[in-house]
Amino acid sequence: MPQLDETPPTRRTRRGGRGRNVMSSTGLYFATAVAAFLFLVPFYLILRNALSTDAEITGENWQFFPTDLQWGNIGALFDDSSVPFARSLWNSTVVAVLHTVGVLLICSLAGYGLARIPYKHANKIFYVVLGTLMVPTAVTFVPSFVLVSSLGWVDTYRGLIIPGLFSGFTCFLFRQYFLGFPKELEEAARVDGLGYWGAYWRVVVPNSLNFFAAIATITFINGWNAFLWPLVIGQDPSAWTVQVALSSYTTGQTVVFHQIFMATAISILPLLFVFLFLQRWLVQGIAQTGIKG
């Protein structure tokens, strides 16, 4: 398993003179810093705008920082009764968590079945799964909506979550990963008398937690950030997710800048935490995927 925070192997190869090294590393840090600066600008804008008054944002002259940090903007956001922002945060949490658990469970099982259980039509079925990757989701969006609505799932967590659980792409990733999973471990489990099911839960899954964590993070992000589907399923504001709430600030007739950006900031915050904490597993998990071939 690669240890990503260790000294990279490439370093050992650089054998130029010391002066050259300092030069090139100054240039290196300079380039990286410039790129990092550009990447951080949008975050700066979110924070600046979220904590300013609208007059400061739209004023004649650019203000780098608000004269007074308008922490009251947070309260104003949650007090606004026309958009149930707190509720939408809660909905997004429920949806993203259940979505993640469901996708991991269903797609990993399917991926394992396709990768490791011999069945004469397995390849054909794999192509059936792969085929879904090529059909853009928005294409089937209307029939999907009519179908889900005829099940009576509009405005429900079921409607928000269940149709999104069957991700061909995630299944594909799991299959690729399990193809590279060491066969010996499973053989040993089978010698001990475990069937596929037992071997899967007792040997395969516990040895794949990094990969599961990586997929979980990606799935969670997608669940949290999904927009089009929650937009139509969440008819009643009480069923809005945070992205829908966010878009409702931007598309309303009036634009209240500080409110929009405060809402954006708060909508991003949970994911930033997830990221900072899970980043290591995510990186390691990705290193193990079939993606690397």
Partner: protein, 321 residues
């Protein structure tokens, strides 16, 4: 549903399975097991993905306006209509240009970031996090920042403010298609959102390259820098590159959110999905023609993907494993 089995996940694996458990014949129950594992997924796939797809295909042969349960069969009329429709055919062109540009650009940009971060000795984790963070943002959020703050056409937009310091007039980035600044807006938003993720993929691959390869190259007289990169790093990244290109292509096919949010009410810069969305949902409620367009698009995507797979050898690795 198999959901009830989740607790197993938390239970520590016993050192040995209980011998009392009857040993299942592995080959005999394989088919059953296969369906046990894949069944829930496949059923869901059939209901929530394939049923709507088939419904769309069926609709494409009907005069389906303001209804999804039409009764007037019109054969291939919808297809001829869509294929002779300038806007739709034009959007296919747009999409091709867009994909041809964004895929290599994102590929190069994220590889560049990965190479930078990989060579850092101090603050690597910090810089990696900085580049990775935008992955957490949604397209909705990014479009909003880009439209309302960075590329706002008026004086309080960030870009116009910066240009103003150099005495340059305000530019209407999104409203005026001449020159087509809107591509700058779209591409920069996409790069910001996407590159961090692909950087991580490359980073992981870079660190899997055995150091000995570089040492051997150095002994053979290869200069560090371009030569080593060209002859060692790049070939070693081949598999990852292929995967990244495929992922980027899929992402480019699905381009919708930021185009929809940034370029409303235009006749330019529209990828096919946006075109179809307006056709089927927005103004004319023409589900028949919209579905026909969707089918055409899907067929096209399949062809491109298969073609790309042929060229880059994607998927061949699977079978040999």
């Amino acid at each position: 549903m198999s959901v009830t089995k989740t607790p197993d996940l938390a239970r520590p694996a016993p050192a040995k399975a209980s011998p009392a458990r009857p040993r299942r014949g592995l080959r005999g129950s394989a088919t059953l097991n296969f369906w046990l594992f894949t069944g829930p997924f496949l059923i869901g796939l059939a209901i929530f993905i394939y049923a709507p797809i088939l419904w769309s295909v069926w609709l494409s042969f009907f005069d389906a306006r303001f209804t999804v349960t039409p009764d007037k069969f019109i054969g291939f009329d919808n297809y001829t209509y869509m294929l002779t429709n300038d806007d739709f055919v034009g959007s296919l062109g747009t999409f091709t240009v867009f994909a041809a540009f964004i895929v290599p650009t994102t590929w190069a940009f994220s590889l560049g970031l990965a190479l930078l971060v990989n060579r850092l000795r101090f603050m690597r984790a910090f810089f990696r996090s900085v580049f990775f963070l935008p992955t957490a943002c949604s397209y909705v959020a990014a479009s909003l920042i880009w439209k309302m703050s960075i590329f706002s056409g008026v004086r309080f937009g960030l870009m116009n403010t910066v240009l103003g310091w150099f005495g340059i007039e305000n530019i209407a980035w999104l409203a005026d298609p001449n020159p087509p600044w809107y591509w700058l807006v779209i591409v920069s938003a996409r790069l910001w959102l996407q590159s961090g993720f692909y950087m991580i993929l490359f980073l992981a691959a870079l660190q899997n390259i055995p150091g000995e390869l570089y040492e051997a190259a150095a002994i053979d007289g290869a200069k560090p820098g371009w030569q080593t990169f060209r002859h060692i790093t790049l070939p070693q990244l081949r598999a990852t590159s292929t995967a990244v290109v495929l992922l980027l292509l899929i992402a480019a096919y699905q381009a919708f959110d930021e185009f929809f949010n940034l370029l409303s009410k235009t006749t330019w810069g529209r990828p096919p999905l946006v075109e179809l969305y307006y056709k089927a949902l927005g103004e004319s409620q023409d589900y028949g023609a919209g579905s026909a367009g969707a089918v055409i698009l899907t067929v096209l995507i399949c062809v491109v993907t298969l073609f790309q797979g042929r060229i880059m050898g994607f998927g061949r690795g699977d079978e040999s494993k």
